[in-house]
């Protein structure tokens, strides 16, 4: 995240130039996020779940889901809104998992083979979606949603009827006893399948990671401060760098205390048992970096230009349609890999169900994090994952405590997921009409 520094400096300076930044507008712009922070805190209180349980679940869910949410960013950048068709990317992943399971390749090689196989599939699907979306400019989101429903029909047709009937597969682990159709659930842990393939490569207690990250931030901060002096940045950037240093110190010290201190209260001591799946986390970080770096390239600039104004982009010679196709294709490929990470952690593939809700949940998460149809950042994605999944963890228990019925909690989080999408999209559309009428 530290690399964003340069960009933020200019933004800060501009805010200083036009004094539009104030507390009120901050609240107005982030109302959704703030609201959900409160709901989450309330939920955690009500649920009476132990902190360790929540933290552990959350850690698992963050590493499991972040990748999928991050896959949404590039299409937003390219002005295509929230990509509901990441479901189709997930289908590519599941197709390759089924193939790899059929071949019996397991463990890390199995996982890598899945990633390898899903790539061409996702590129193909992404390309097709891109072409479709180019035909429905201005209605991209509903189109991508209906497209994912449509694709789901084809997917079911493939695995329920064609496999076994037309495509001969003889594998009792996969195929229903009748010889036609793939089983509803496929156990990915059988014979050391791809379950935890990525997660279990390296797991490190989280507070050790804290210490490590703390040290890296401190080193970075010092370097920046030193170099910053040489380039002669303004005062405001100095404040920024010092706060980075302090952040690094806090992270380091927290890590240090939790690792080495003997006299912690019991419920906090439990937290030291948290372990971070390092490789999975690294993959997520690499994706963050990818999203960040691509903005700095010519391609990224094209995405942004197309996203801001298709007409101007095409007048200045950018191939708008092609750029949009590339954006969706990247998103689809990332979604496929995201689904792989998701499934290797879950450990069972629900052939006809695992992919269905991922777009809804990923989009709800990124919106809760403060993103909108036209703007989404890495930070919003990650914050959204944390908030949304906190809600996910605590809502059944909270509802049970409150109404005596856990089912209400499940309905409630469905309601939240759909509601937040509906409301954010509605608000966005409203702002758009307001702008139009003002003109």
């Amino acid at each position: 995240m530290a690399e964003t520094n340069n960009e933020q400096i200019t933004k800060e300076d501009i805010k200083e130039l036009n004094p539009s930044f104030n507390v009120k507008s901050f609240f107005q712009d982030n109302i959704v996020t703030i609201l959900f922070v409160f709901i989450c805190i309330l939920g955690v209180q009500l649920s009476k779940l132990p902190l360790f349980f929540i933290a552990n679940e959350l850690l698992v869910r963050i590493t499991r889901n972040s990748f999928l949410v991050l896959a949404l960013i590039i299409p937003v950048l390219a002005g295509m809104g929230l990509n509901f068709s990441i479901v189709i990317g997930a289908m590519a992943a599941q197709i390759s998992i089924i193939i790899v399971t059929h071949w019996g390749v397991t463990g890390v090689p199995g996982f890598l083979l899945c990633a390898f196989l899903s790539f061409p599939l996702a590129v193909l699907f992404g390309n097709l979606i891109g072409r479709l979306l180019n035909k429905t400019k201005g209605q991209e989101m509903i189109t991508s949603m209906i497209a994912s429903f449509f694709a789901n029909g084809l997917y079911q047709l493939l695995f329920l009827f064609l496999v076994g009937k037309i495509i001969p597969v003889n594998n009792p682990i996969l195929i229903l006893s009748k010889g036609v159709g793939v089983r509803n659930t496929i156990d990915l842990s059988r014979n050391g399948g791809i379950k935890y393939a990525l997660d279990n490569i390296l797991k490190v207690p989280i507070f050790n990671v804290f210490m490590g990250v703390g040290i890296i931030i401190i080193i970075y901060g010092v370097c920046k401060l030193y170099l910053g002096n040489r380039y002669g940045f303004k005062r405001i950037s100095r404040v920024k760098q010092i706060s980075i240093l302090i952040l690094g110190l806090i992270v380091f010290i927290t890590g240090y205390i939790f690792t080495f201190s003997e006299d912690l209260p019991n419920n906090l001591r439990m937290l030291t048992n948290l372990k971070l799946p390092v490789v999975t986390s690294l993959t997520v970080i690499v994706l963050c970096l990818f999203n960040f770096i691509i903005v700095k390239t010519k391609l990224g600039q094209d995405f942004r230009t197309v996203g801001q104004d298709k007409h101007i982009a095409s007048v200045s010679g950018i191939n708008v349609d092609r750029t949009r196709i590339i954006a969706v294709t990247i998103s689809t490929v990332l979604a496929a890999w995201g689904q792989l990470i998701f499934l290797q952690n879950i450990g069972t593939l629900n052939t006809y169900g695992s992919h269905v809700q991922i777009a809804t949940f990923a989009i709800a998460a990124i919106l809760i994090g403060g993103a909108s149809v036209s703007k989404a950042t890495i930070g919003q994605a990650l914050l959204g994952v944390v908030l949304f999944h906190t809600l996910f963890i605590v809502s059944p228990k909270a509802a049970k405590e409150l109404f005596g019925d856990a089912q209400i909690g499940e309905f409630f989080r469905n309601f939240v997921a759909y509601g937040v999408i509906g409301v954010s999209l509605g608000l966005h559309a409203w702002k758009k009409t307001l702008k139009r009428t003002k003109k």
Binding site: T136, T143, F150, N414, A429
Partner: protein, 346 residues
């Protein structure tokens, strides 16, 4: 008239031709595999009447310019609520049926009106927002079905809280329309009451479109700028269209339920809008234009195809629910096609 016939054929379009062709094909297959023709025809007619009003609900929505009403679940939920309350109050038979409708009306009117107000704020993005409005309303009512203080023993779980997932109408007004003046010709059962009710509703909507306000509404949907220049209050017309659509949704689900014999609560209404949208599109409507004839043709083709496809599919492939998958593909495929027709160019 020749003009409108020409218009009709040119608008028939590729997907509708395919579906009609497919329908005829599976009809032929069904004869070959020896399926009982008469019971199948009875089934088609029954489902035609059963789904008709839900599809009809799309007409005022499309005509008033808000596009296919993906938020049909809002109306459906109002209908369900009306049905539940009427049952709780102990109404049975005809009284139960009509009281369900009457009780659901105020809910539908208020919901439709509020929803129409909201749609006026988000012109141009109606379909997507509507979809998620519908979804979240369904999820919200899921909570309500548990929390609302219903007591009737046939409605609530014997143990635990809340309403059942399906509420049987056997003791109240199941089949009440279907059996009204029903008769049989050559083994084909004609549910006269159901058909009359559906066609009656169509007639009412048709008369409405020929009244002053109906014409204003259609103009507002066709070309809002034109409507404004003719002194028509476009926003008001859109609200009227939305409200009407919501009312028809409520009415539709009650008619559906009496024919089906159950009220389906909880997540059941979530995707009902999609089937209705697909049906009217198959009938020849677009996201911007719809007529009563589109409803009648569409619901006949779509439901006919599904009715015939089910046994045919079961003959061909014994396993699984091929026809369900087929419905999914056709339904979303046709909506997708309609979307490419709307969005193109711009």
């Amino acid at each position: 008239m020749t003009e409108s016939i020409k218009e009709f054929t040119s608008k028939f379009g590729l997907p509708r031709l395919i579906i009609t062709g497919f329908f005829i094909l599976i009809c032929i297959i069904s004869v070959f595999v020896g399926l009982p023709f008469d019971s199948m025809l009875s089934d088609i007619i029954r489902r035609f009447g059963m789904y008709g009003i839900l599809v009809l609900a799309m007409v005022p929505a499309i005509q008033s310019g808000i596009g296919p009403n993906f938020a049909l679940p809002l109306g459906i939920l109002c209908g369900l609520l009306g049905g539940m309350i009427s049952m709780e109050l102990g109404f049975v038979d005809a009284m139960g049926f009509w009281s369900a409708i009457i009780i659901s009306l105020p809910f539908a009117i208020i919901t439709g009106w509020l929803y129409g107000l909201m749609l006026n704020k988000i012109k141009g993005s109606e379909m997507l927002v509507a979809t998620y409005m519908g979804f979240s309303a369904v999820a919200f009512m899921c909570i309500m079905w548990i929390l609302l203080p219903f007591k009737h023993p046939e409605m609530v779980w014997p143990i635990g809280r809340g309403l059942r997932v399906t509420v049987s109408l056997d003791s109240t007004y199941a089949q009440i329309l279907n059996k009204f003046w029903a008769f049989e010709i050559g083994g084909v059962n004609i549910p006269t009451g159901l058909l009359l009710f559906f066609l009656g509703s169509c007639l009412v909507v048709w008369l409405f479109t020929r009244s002053k306000i109906g014409i204003a509404m259609k103009a507002a949907g066709d070309n809002p700028k034109f409507a404004v220049a003719s002194g028509i209050n476009v926003d008001r017309c859109r609200i009227i269209g939305t409200t009407l659509s919501t009312i028809l949704g409520a009415l539709g689900i009650i008619v559906y339920a009496q024919s089906f014999g159950f009220f389906q609560l909880y997540m059941a209404p979530q995707f009902m809008a999609f089937g209705a949208v697909a049906a009217i599109l198959i009938g020849g409507a677009s996201a911007k234009r719809a007529k009563i004839s589109h409803v009648i043709l569409g619901v006949f083709l779509f439901q006919g195809m599904l009715t015939v496809a089910l046994p045919v599919a079961n003959e061909l492939i014994k396993e699984g629910s091929l026809s369900e998958v087929l419905r999914f593909i056709v339904q979303n495929g046709i909506i997708l096609y309609a979307l490419t027709q709307v969005g193109g160019g711009e």
